[in-house]
């Protein structure tokens, strides 16, 4: 009945994940992600991972089956933007109570699905399992099946309770839900030789929209973005794409790999961050499409666009290169950004003193070495205290990281720029590189750092007794 253990094993043994395949069998069975150390501060759970992976599907309703905490704390907390529907931003939860824990919450879940369909009529409802409802044995798969049949509407169980593991595992389990219940369930009205999927791009701060005009310009159609600014139907039709680009390899490699297996959609791993990477991605897209039979002139179109856009971006960065030259950057992020942003920063003349690889794959690490050389300072799992120490010793001029590390940087009197989901600027594409460089420049030259670094004037003269 419970499909979770099987699913976990499947995800753990992901063949496209080189890191995982490199392990001895016994170790592999223990899971591809590090066991969490009890008592040590940790990131999000599997539920959170599944939710952030799927929630960018904008026209669907996302219903969290669990107590208020799970949806209450995660409601609309990422800037995954929509160009249309906003149903995904409404917080739906069964908000189960003590009685539900005793008697079971399945009926309540069923009613909640019904109410969503009555009131909102979304094209689909995603139902998320959580720790408590999983532990009391609520069978969300069965409820979704019954509800889907009754209301004639896709009701998709996302079986990724928090205790299953870390956030990254949840990303993959979310992907599995798409593979099992969504992808391939509808047919596009029109297919072209230029249709691609973009996988693992969440349109945070609208980054997809910085890239999409470039694709439009060379005549590439994004059949589905999984899942940034996606519509349910697009994802359902995505199996008809000719090629795919894998943006965040760590999160959704299973989708890309299985779609290749099932539907023969070739994919490559690329990045939209940095001038060189953006160009490389355009080239790869064109190459894969041509391989799949698209007319070869798309390559020329891509080259022409790359030439003009690169020149324009370089010209716009130039004024900053002098101001930023030699500035030392510490990069605390994960996955693809651990190397793709490196290239962008190097383009602006900055020096990377370290990059975190906690959430990076083996491929990611190889890329880092390739870009930064063997001396690359890779930080596997930096505790806030080590981070503080490094910053305090001023081995960096600025730290680029997510919101949770911001405050550590600040206490060490270190300039800091948000490059994770809570940021408000989009850094993708040629446009985004310029924005990133501008933001770094602004951050470094903000007068507040003088204030932060200066001691209180009286401390220079006296030591005040407490």
């Amino acid at each position: 009945m419970n499909a979770l253990p099987g699913k976990l094993l499947e995800v753990f043994e992901e063949p496209a994940c080189g890191k995982n395949q490199g392990k001895p069998e016994k170790e592999r069975k223990q899971g591809c992600t590090k066991q969490l150390a009890p008592g040590a501060a940790a990131g999000g759970c599997a539920f959170d991972g599944a939710k952030i992976a799927l929630q960018p599907i904008t026209d669907a309703a996302h219903l969290v089956h669990g107590p208020i905490a799970c949806e209450g704390n995660s409601w609309d907390n990422r800037h995954a933007l929509s160009s249309g529907p906003t149903t995904y931003r409404t917080g739906f939860t069964t908000d189960i109570s003590e009685l539900d824990v005793i008697y079971g919450g399945e009926k309540r879940l069923y009613k909640a699905v019904k109410e969503i369909i009555d009131k909102y009529d979304p094209p689909a409802v995603f139902v998320y399992q959580t720790c408590v409802t999983a532990m009391i044995g609520d069978d969300i798969e069965a409820v979704c099946r019954a509800a889907g049949k009754k209301f004639n509407k896709p009701v998709i169980p996302v079986n990724s309770p928090g205790f299953a593991g870390i956030k990254n595992l949840g990303n993959k389990l979310g992907g599995e839900a798409l593979l099992d219940y969504v992808i391939g369930t509808a047919e596009p009205d029109l297919s072209t030789p230029y249709d691609i999927n973009i996988i693992g791009e969440y349109n945070l701060s609208g980054e997809l929209w910085q890239v999409k005009p470039l694709l439009d310009a060379i005549g590439v159609r994004v059949l589905a973005c999984i899942s940034g600014d996606a519509r349910y139907r697009e994802v359902a039709c995505s199996h008809r794409a000719r090629a795919a680009m894998m943006v965040c390899s760590k999160a959704m490699i299973n989708i890309a790999r299985k779609m290749q297996e099932r539907y023969q959609i070739p994919f490559f791993e690329g990045s939209f961050y940095g001038i060189g990477d953006m160009s490389e991605s355009l080239r790869e897209i064109a190459r894969l499409l041509v391989e799949r039979g698209a007319p070869p002139d798309i390559k020329d179109r891509a080259e022409r666009l790359i030439e003009s856009e690169e020149a324009r971006a370089w010209a716009r960065i130039e004024p900053y290169r002098q101001r930023l030259k030699g500035k030392k950057v510490l990069l605390i992020t994960g996955g693809v950004k651990s190397w793709s942003v490196v290239a962008a920063l190097q383009e602006a003349g900055m020096e990377i003193v370290g990059t975190s690889v906690k959430k990076s794959t083996k491929e990611d690490k190889d890329r880092i070495k390739e870009i930064m050389g063997d001396e690359a300072h890779m930080i596997d799992d930096m505790t806030p205290r080590e981070m503080y120490k490094m910053l305090k010793e001023a081995r960096a001029d600025i730290m680029l990281s997510g919101g949770r590390s911001q405050f550590v940087a600040l206490k060490a009197k270190m300039p800091w720029l948000d490059i994770n989901q809570e940021r408000h600027h989009a850094y993708a594409g040629y446009e985004g590189v310029v924005t990133l460089i501008e933001e770094i420049d602004r951050t470094l030259h903000n007068p507040v750092w003088d204030l932060v670094r200066a001691r209180a004037p009286w401390e220079q003269h006296q030591r005040v007794p407490v």
């Binding site: 602004r442 204030l451 004037p457």
Partner: protein, 519 residues
């Protein structure tokens, strides 16, 4: 008919009803002989141009929307800061009604103040009788410990001599001979409310220190270790003075606040009406002479007072409404130097906290352009804070700012790269500001309630900091001085910035792509 006896519409709704809309339209069309709408629009657009701005700045006689008030307003502000003191304004009573309502609307508190109610005959024959009767009535009706006399223009134009009049009144038995009646001439046609504050503050010091207008021996100064603190005319006096007391308490200082109106403008609702509350005691006011130094938070509010105090042998220090970290640092360092006391750890922590808060939010303020108007010292304080935050105080305007003030602002702007494209405007009004906001737009304007017309006309969001604030309540209870005050000002600025971001992203299905819960 829209109106009915059972459901009477008020002004918010009534004239939005179709009949009224139609009626008003017809009236305009048929009876108003109105200029064509296109012409109105053309002129409206023209007032936004550089050409209009040049004409506007060439204005010589007319002041439009002044950002200042009159001397007696400042006189009353200073006077209510002393123990059981009744401000008595010699002149027309209408003026006094204005001061009272002005303060009550800002502080949401009653403001007790009387006038000598001069009428036509007093204007012809002089106001002596009004002074005689007025002091007698005020003394017996309101039982003050002191009556602080100032003047309106009417008394000044006819040249009433307060010193002589008060003496005359005492001779006639209006008040006992030994009763304290300090006075100051405060004509509205000279200076502004900050001048009036200065005159009364000096008048009261002079009264106590220099022999009570010849009725007592002059005091002999016997220097002690205390310091005097003078806040100046300040819309945040309630919050600010309490904050200063807290800071001085933490430092363990022995001090006197001259003109402490923080209690009288914040009395509790507990069933008792306090016509007077708190304030500097008369004994303290007299003994303030012996202090080793006097500190003014607002140089341009206390020019004469400080000269007077300095003349009596005290060290005097003047600040310009310090707001922000660096300004508060300077203030505390000077206080520590003068008093020889250390700055306690508690304040060091508060400093660290506000620096932390600034850094947390700096990206949102960095590079934003602001227009500021208000009293000269407040403008200096706010401009300094904005520069500290990496913002650009693009237009700094004080209707009651002097040439010396303008030079000081210029020097401040020149001290920071963020002040590079910023300008200072002394003696200009809010209609000048309107032209500035059209021709050199900024992101936000900081000013008092009257700035809402600028906000409406130019679309520049208004951050309400200044005096008077009539249309938002209770901000005067929060300090803007000290590190805690910097925190408040920072939060007010940020609140507006975020409100604006939300406002620009909240139309459903149109702009709400970026309507985020985390900013």
């Amino acid at each position: 008919m829209t109106q009915s006896a059972t459901h009477v519409l008020d002004h918010f709704d009534l004239f939005r009803q179709p009949e009224y809309k139609e009626m008003l339209e017809n009236k305009k069309k048929n009876f108003e002989n109105a200029v064509p709408a296109e012409e109105v629009e053309r002129i409206r657009e023209w007032t936004k141009t550089g050409e209009y701005r040049d004409k506007n700045f060439a204005r010589e006689a007319l002041t439009i929307n002044p950002a200042k008030a009159c001397q007696p307003l400042g006189a009353v502000f200073a006077a209510v800061g002393f123990e059981s003191t009744l401000p008595f304004v010699h002149g027309s009573q209408g003026c006094v009604a204005y001061y009272r309502s002005h303060f009550s609307r800002h502080f949401k508190e009653p403001t007790s103040c009387v006038s000598s109610s001069m009428t036509e005959d007093a204007a012809v024959f002089g106001g002596l009788n009004n002074m005689v009767d007025g002091l007698a009535n005020a003394y017996s009706l309101y039982k003050p410990k002191m009556i602080a006399v100032s003047t309106t223009c009417m008394a000044e134009v006819i040249g009433d001599d307060l010193n002589a009049f008060i003496k005359g009144a005492k001779e006639k038995g209006s008040v006992p001979v030994e009763f304290n009646v300090p006075f100051a001439h405060t004509p509205a046609f000279v200076g502004s409310h900050i001048t009036g504050y200065d005159n009364v503050m000096k008048g009261i010091c002079e009264h106590f220190w220099d022999g009570k207008a010849g009725t007592a021996p002059k005091l002999e100064r016997a220097p002690n270790e205390k310091i005097n603190f003078i806040g100046g005319f300040d819309g945040y006096t309630v919050g600010n003075l309490r904050e200063i007391k807290r800071i001085f308490g933490l430092m363990g200082l022995d001090y006197t606040i001259l003109g402490d109106n923080s209690d009288v403008w914040d009395t509790p609702t507990d069933g008792e009406f306090r016509m007077y509350d708190g304030g500097t005691t008369l004994k303290e006011a007299a003994e303030a002479l012996h202090a080793k130094a006097s500190i003014s938070m607002q140089e341009y509010c206390t020019e004469k007072t400080l000269a007077f105090v300095g003349g009596h042998g005290q060290e005097v220090l003047a600040f310009n409404h310090p707001v922000g970290v660096a300004a508060t640092d300077r203030f505390l360092m000077e206080v520590a130097r003068v008093t020889g006391k250390a700055i306690p750890e508690e304040l060091a922590k508060e400093r660290g906290r506000v620096v932390d808060a600034i850094a947390d939010s700096s990206a949102h303020i960095h590079g934003k352009k602001f227009a500021i108007y208000g009293d000269p010292d407040l403008c200096l304080g706010l401009a300094g804070f904005l520069l500290e935050l990496g913002a650009e105080p693009t237009h700094v305007l004080a209707t009651n700012g002097s040439k010396a003030w303008a030079e000081k602002v210029r020097a401040l702007l020149d001290s920071s790269p963020f002040g590079e494209n910023c300008h200072v405007y002394a003696g200009k009004d809010l209609w000048h500001m309107r032209s500035l906001l059209f021709t050199e737009p900024v992101d936000f304007v900081i000013g008092n309630t009257y700035g809402k017309f600028l906000e409406r006309d130019t679309g520049t969001p208004l951050i309400r900091i200044g005096f008077p604030i009539f249309d938002r309540h209770h901000h005067h209870r929060y300090p803007v001085w000290g590190y805690q005050g910097a925190m408040n000002v920072l939060v007010w600025i940020l609140d507006k910035i975020f409100d604006e971001i939300d406002k620009h992203t909240m139309v459903a299905s149109k702009t709400d792509f970026s309507f985020d819960i985390i900013r």
